[in-house]
């Protein structure tokens, strides 16, 4: 009996370890500027946030991800977004730096834990 329980324990811990390893295996992509970071974030949202439609805007995405309780430095993230939008739509210079928080958000979404949380939240809202 004890051996059986031990085997079950080992199995559970192995599964847990495997899951943690799988999420950590997703390495941050090599991103050098804020424009690349937002392209990557766009890809992550499109793939892993099912309730944001193809027509989502950055403002809607930020609102949605904030509501999902994702912990990143939101003021920093919004400042990066303002700089990126000025570059993208206003013809300004691409701001130097500011991509770290965007990459962090993108990684959190990719690690599916967030995706699961968003999915669960939207299901419970329905």
């Amino acid at each position: 009996m004890e051996t059986l329980l031990l085997a079950v324990d080992v199995g559970i811990f192995a599964l847990l370890g495997g899951a943690i390893f799988a999420t950590r295996r997703i390495r941050p992509p090599s991103i050098h500027d804020v424009a690349g970071a937002f392209q990557d974030l766009d890809h992550s949202i499109s793939k892993f946030v099912p309730d944001l439609s193809a027509g989502f805007t950055w403002g809607e995405a930020v609102e949605r991800l904030k509501a999902a309780g994702i912990k990143v430095d939101w003021p920093k993230m919004e400042s990066s977004l303002a700089g990126y939008e000025a570059f993208r739509y206003g013809g300004r210079e691409l701001p130097q730096g500011g991509e770290d928080e965007v990459v962090k958000l993108s990684m959190k979404i990719r690690r599916r834990i967030v995706g699961y949380r968003i999915k669960r939240e939207s299901t419970s809202r329905d």
Binding site: D42, A54, G55, T57, G59, A86, R88, Y89, G90
Partner: protein, 311 residues
């Protein structure tokens, strides 16, 4: 960019009008975009007081015309009257010569009067017996109509609706807002409490700044795709006109200005799209009969959900 303008306008309007912040903001967007507004709502939902308060805080000359079925175009634009002293005909200006004209119950006026007003809206001038007179600048019309009236009314045809930059529907207030309205009306209300938010020539300067707001090629491309989608949409029998898209980009510019930006982002377009587009579109009869869609606003939202903006 005047980021505080919206707050200053809303603060003044709130002194008299309760729970109409969104509608007041849309009036401000229309004003900055140089367009006219159609306010739709049942009687007593503060259409007139909202328009009056808006005119007062913007420091605009305000006139109101109550439209009736027996009205003539000259009641609005003016006409020639004989001056006994000078022994000649002289032009007497009608109430349309103002900055902000409230055209109350526009759908009760006969088509001749409606088209005279719509000509004034489009050309910002009126012509009476060959004499063309420029209207004051800025010139804005806020027309109202009651959706529940069916007798003795002349509904605006599609081509005339298309001249309105926005159609804003005023719903009944919720119970909390209604309580506030009742309480507020028990107290003494004074329109004099509303102060002008501008000083001197400021409105003209602001309108000029709004015109300088940048629109990127990608944003224009995004609008073109949206326009095409409205025309391909099976639930619609009439899609958005090029004028509708021009109006939409003007509103997006005004929205960008109010948000302290000198460039338009997709959010600026999306946030005003229903108010600018919905009244110009026509639902297909089969969609109406099968009940697949409630109204054109829903179709507009669906299209914007589907079309990918430049990101």
């Amino acid at each position: 960019m005047d980021t505080g303008l919206r707050e200053r306008v809303l603060a003044e309007i709130r002194k008299l009008v309760v729970g109409r912040d969104k509608e007041a903001e849309l009036l401000l967007v229309s004003f900055l975009a140089g367009g006219h507004v159609l306010l739709e709502g049942v009687p007593g939902v503060s259409k007139t007081i909202l328009a009056k308060s808006f005119a007062k805080c913007m420091g605009l000359e305000f006139k109101r015309i109550q439209f009736t079925p027996d009205m003539l175009p000259m009641d609005m634009v003016g006409g020639f009257v004989f001056n006994m002293k000078e022994k000649e005909f002289e032009f007497r200006r009608g109430p349309v010569f103002t900055n902000l004209l409230l055209a109350d119950e526009i759908n009760r006026a006969p088509p001749k009067v409606q088209s005279a007003l719509l000509e004034a809206m489009q050309e910002v001038q009126v012509t009476v017996e060959g004499l063309t007179q420029k209207l004051p600048s800025p010139f804005m019309v806020i027309a109202t109509q009651n959706p529940q009236e069916f007798q003795g009314v002349y509904p605006l045809p599609e081509n005339q609706l298309d001249r309105f930059l926005m159609k804003i529907t005023l719903p009944y207030p919720d119970s909390a807002t209604e309580s506030k309205i009742i309480r507020r009306n028990l107290e003494e209300m004074d329109a004099a409490e509303i102060r002008e938010v501008f000083a001197g020539e400021e409105p003209e300067a602001i309108l000029h700044q709004v015109e300088q707001v940048k629109v990127s090629e990608e944003i224009i491309g995004y609008l073109a795709v949206v326009a095409e989608e409205t025309r391909k949409e099976r639930r619609l029998s009439l899609g958005a006109s090029p004028r509708a898209m021009v109006h939409l980009i003007h509103c997006a510019r005004a929205n960008a200005y109010l948000n302290g930006r000198d460039f338009v982002i997709p959010e600026d377009i999306k946030s005003v799209s229903s108010y600018v587009l919905a009244h110009r579109l026509k639902l297909d009869q089969s969609a109406v009969l099968t009940g697949t869609v409630a109204d054109t606003s829903q179709v507009v939202q669906d299209i914007f959900t589907k079309v990918r903006p430049p990101r």
